[in-house]
Symmetry: C2
Subunit: 203 residues, 2 copies
DNA sequence: GTCTATAGGGTGATAGAC
DNA sequence: GTCTATCACCCTATAGAC
């Protein structure tokens, strides 16, 4: 974007410091929130001197964008692996199982996407809608799965599934109870089974 | 509720400024988030000179606690009114209808409790668990209703209901789509109907 | 390219006049 | 009790040495 080349190749190299900073930012933002996180926190987590951060990212906001990119990459990695599973119901249940596996993290820090989206939505600059894209990607993927299950209301079901994930994450986090993830996850898996058994059907 | 009462105690009063500050804090925190809100923002919203704030609240954190109190009061007002309705299914559906009514606010700023809880959970001081109490109160009330419906799994159902509310608020907010609240609200009302029709039953 | 030192701006909090 | 003036600190961002 800034330099001559934004592709995969001609970027200035620094021992992967840029990547380290981006993923450190994603993690620290998740743990502390964007507003409470200082550039010094990120520099420390990435093991990079504070002033050097500005060589890679001109502003703190650019670091937020980079963190969003890291989340996007992580999500497409997950859906990519799920896509190798044989059928849509299995894929959806594996997605849910993954959420439940992360229950301890969710109970302590909430959903990495959801909490970031909620925080950015409080802003009024251009970043206030940037996180929505990541969530939208997850919803779109789920919608595709429900459609493969033959559901006409795939879009609504996808929203319902992701909303359930966000909701159980918020409660697990607020109450500090990972068991909320376990119980609600089980319920969601049964729900998927019901939908799959009922076969192709509309709302 | 001017100067004359100030509760039942002998607290210093100043034309209800303390209350104005508390409710202004709750609103501004909801709109901007705690971290991005300055004391000056709150003073302005409450129409109180900045320096005067410190006469009523020694620290910003005390203002957060006061905002939590305002939320608690608001919630008990809501459940109090709902309790006058004839049966538990009607009460639960009225609760849901109230959420849907607030869809525009939820789409812009999220759930007032949920977003505050999420933000406070990023902290490590004593406040990181304070918001949980308000959510817990809502869950407990819902659990009572489900129990009156004869459900053995009232506790799980209450968590499911409040999680659904939090989830649809997060998505409506992130996507800026109030319709998410409408659609998911309708689904929840149907769900309550199903539970009520199926009569006293366990999980 | 890498890093240090520091400027500059804003915020929470206090002292003390009225 | 009310409010102004101001301090002290921290954080983002920059200038410039290496």
């Amino acid at each position: 974007m800034t330099d001559s080349q934004a592709g995969a190749k001609a970027k200035p190299r620094g021992g992967g410091k840029r990547e380290r900073l981006a993923s450190a930012a994603a993690e620290v933002f998740h743990h502390q929130g964007v507003e409470r996180t200082t550039l010094s926190d990120i520099a420390q987590a990435a093991d990079v001197p504070l002033g050097n951060v500005y060589y890679y990212f001109k502003t703190k906001d650019q670091l937020v964008e980079a963190a969003l990119g890291a989340h996007r990459d992580r999500l497409s990695g997950i859906t990519g692996r799920l896509d190798r599973l044989p059928d849509p119901a299995t894929r959806l249940k594996a997605l849910i199982a993954g959420w439940v596996e992360q229950r301890e993290v969710a109970a302590r820090y909430g959903c990495p996407f959801g909490t970031l989206a909620a925080e950015l939505d409080k802003r009024e600059d251009g970043l206030d809608q940037a996180a929505a894209g990541v969530l939208r990607g997850l919803i779109d993927w789920a919608e595709g799965q429900f459609r493969q299950l033959g559901r006409d209301d795939a879009s609504d079901l996808a929203v319902e599934l992701v909303a359930a994930y966000q909701g159980m994450s918020v409660l697990a986090n607020a109450l500090r109870e990972p068991e909320v993830m376990t119980r609600q996850g089980r319920r969601l898996e049964e729900w998927i089974d019901t939908l799959a058994r009922s076969g192709p059907a509309g709302a």
